[in-house]
């Protein structure tokens, strides 16, 4: 314990633990809603694109523009812009619950694009074969596109989760709590380099674990 005291003189370990939990809660909550919103949006983008099953170039153009606009606003700005929206949806503008709204709105378009790309990787011939067997569009989506694109979709989820870790840390700056907030408040503003080191190290570990988990799942479901 002496060594820990020497190396990390300023650190309040229970507070670190609480921040870890906050980060995980924000990550889990926002990832869940991002998937729930981004997956249908990605499928919609895929289906309406030119030359696809339900090609509607104009609708695709509008969807694509909305996605691009949301993706081009820096997350930190998006968070501030969304404060009124957050208040309407959750009743609060800060804290974990308050952070989830901008996190989802920031990450869902990003995830939708990745979903669209993953679905495009599915062999057109397989889709045509399913059509020749009399499959409906719904059946093609649920029984062909999603299972065939599963490794790509898992990889997309991994990338999105890692991006969300970064976003949650940014959320800390506007009072969302979590590891990012500690790094900023104590480490940066409070001149406590050990806080900075520990929080960053924990974030690195979190990203590593997420990536490893994702890669394992991709390997498990790859049949090519």
């Amino acid at each position: 314990m002496n060594l820990m005291q020497t190396l990390f003189p300023n650190i309040d370990w229970p507070e670190i633990a609480r921040a870890c939990l906050d980060t995980l809660l924000m990550l889990g909550g926002s990832l869940l809603f991002t998937l729930a919103l981004g997956l249908p949006l990605g499928i919609w983008l895929f289906l309406t694109a030119r030359g696809q099953l339900h090609a509607q170039p104009k609708l695709y153009g509008v969807l694509s523009l909305v996605v691009n606009v949301l993706r081009s606003i820096p997350f930190i700005i998006l968070m501030i812009l969304l404060i009124p929206v957050t208040q309407v949806i959750t009743g609060v503008s800060i804290g974990i619950r308050g952070a989830i709204v901008p996190l989802v709105i920031g990450a869902a378009p990003f995830f939708a694009r990745l979903v669209e790309t993953a679905l495009r990787e599915v062999d057109r011939g397989v889709i045509e074969a399913s059509q020749s067997m009399g499959a409906t569009t719904g059946q093609i989506v649920t029984r062909v596109l999603l299972p065939e694109a599963r490794p790509g979709l898992i990889a997309a989820t991994t990338v999105t989760a890692v991006a969300l870790v970064g976003y949650t840390a940014m959320g800390g700056i506007v009072g969302a709590g979590g590891l990012g907030a500690l790094a900023y408040q104590y480490g940066y503003n409070g001149y406590k380099p050990d806080y900075m080191l520990v929080t960053v190290a924990l974030l690195v570990v979190l990203v590593q674990v997420l990536q490893m988990l994702g890669d394992r799942l991709v390997a498990r479901y790859s049949r090519r």
């Binding site: 062999d123 074969a129 067997m133 009399g134 065939e148 049949r223």
Partner: protein
């Protein structure tokens, strides 16, 4: 020189099995009819014709081949049958019913009755062999899991893949994948099977075994097969009739024997020459005396010692320049190129023609 007598032993075999076309003597019924069906695609706003109006009838139980180079429109023509492509004008009739505008449940029912296999197999990589074969049955719904299992076992036995039921497509060879494709296409007991360049991605040996399987299915199940290919050899081995497609038009149509032995259109000639491993169309033999003739034997005539008899009767002389004896589906045929000369050449030609052998003079 009685070259055909060498094959006397084989003649008996062919007579026993009967090599007359399956359709001869039977009453034929049209299952697929194109009535001035055409297709054009819009490229930058202007329509580009892929298929000029086609009139074509395909009979129940026949193996119908469509041959053409890439871009000739054969893939489009094939896809008009199950409406993966809609005709721009004209009609497509299946079993006498106009299906040109079928959609919704009617379209799905129609497609369930038409199996299709593909050049690149198009299997679901995320599902096992058994699940791939069961796929069209599960799509249809309303079929019990027990019955699906039974049907899958039966189909895998038919294509010889029972031992591979639990494997994934990536673990199979090309020929095995195509067999899975065939089993899947047959799952919903279709009456028509469409083959889209089904052997083009396979090596010659595997091609032969897949074609044999298709011919066997055609015989056993009485299935109508429509196949497209760019190889005349595929047509020769399994088809009853063939349509030659060139730049979106049917330029030649007939029984495979007729088209193969007497190609009329330039495109057809090139395809036949390729199948014979010949370069170009007209052989030249400088220094060989006499006139050049191509003799085409078919069926029984292939094995009769005709030339020996003609030489004895008319005293002409001949040089055998090139020749081929093979089969068109189940019919033996021979084609010889001869240089003939002699005083009674005219009598010889008449005698050859009277024996039922086609004879045509080759320009030199």
């Amino acid at each position: 020189m009685g070259w055909p007598s060498v094959y006397a032993g084989r003649r008996r075999r062919w007579t026993r099995f009967g090599y007359h076309g399956r359709l001869s003597g039977q009453k034929t019924r049209t299952v697929i009819r194109f009535a001035a069906a055409s297709k054009s695609y819009r490229v930058d706003g202007t329509p580009v014709p892929a298929l000029h109006p086609v009139d074509l009838e395909i009979a129940k139980g026949e193996v119908f081949g469509i041959i053409g180079h890439s871009g000739a429109g054969k893939s489009t023509l094939l896809r008009l049958i199950n409406l993966l492509e809609r005709p721009t004008s004209g009609q497509v009739l299946i079993d006498g019913r106009d299906v040109t505008h079928a959609d919704g449940a009617e379209l799905r029912r129609l497609r369930a009755g038409i199996g299709m296999i593909f050049q690149h197999f198009n299997l679901l990589s995320s599902r096992t062999v058994a699940d791939n074969v069961a796929f069209p049955l599960r799509l249809q719904g309303g079929i019990g899991e027990d019955e699906i299992q039974r049907r899958v076992d039966e189909l895998l036995a038919l294509v010889g893949l029972s031992a591979h039921a639990r494997k994934y497509p990536a673990q199979l060879s090309g020929g095995q994948k195509q067999r899975v494709g065939i089993a899947r296409a047959l799952a919903s007991r279709p009456s028509i099977l469409l083959c889209d360049e089904a052997t083009s991605a396979l090596d010659p040996q595997t091609t032969a075994s897949v074609l044999e399987l298709l011919a066997d299915i055609n015989r056993r199940l009485g299935l109508t097969i429509v196949l497209i290919t760019h190889e005349m050899d595929v047509i020769r081995r399994v088809c009853d009739r063939v349509a030659v497609l060139d730049a979106g038009r049917v330029v030649e149509l007939g029984t495979v024997a007729d088209v193969f032995l007497h190609p009329q259109h330039e495109t057809t000639r090139r395809f036949v020459a390729e199948a014979d491993h010949r370069e170009g169309s007209g052989p030249e033999y400088p220094g060989v005396p006499g006139r050049l003739f191509r003799l085409s034997f078919r069926g029984e005539a292939t094995y009769s010692p005709l030339l020996a008899r003609v030489v004895r009767d008319t005293g002409i002389e001949y040089n055998l320049l090139s020749g081929r004896i093979d089969r068109i589906k189940d019919t033996p045929y021979g084609q010889l190129t001869l240089a003939m000369h002699g005083e009674r050449l005219h009598d010889a030609l008449i005698q050859i023609r009277n024996a039922g052998v086609d004879i045509e003079e080759v320009a030199r």
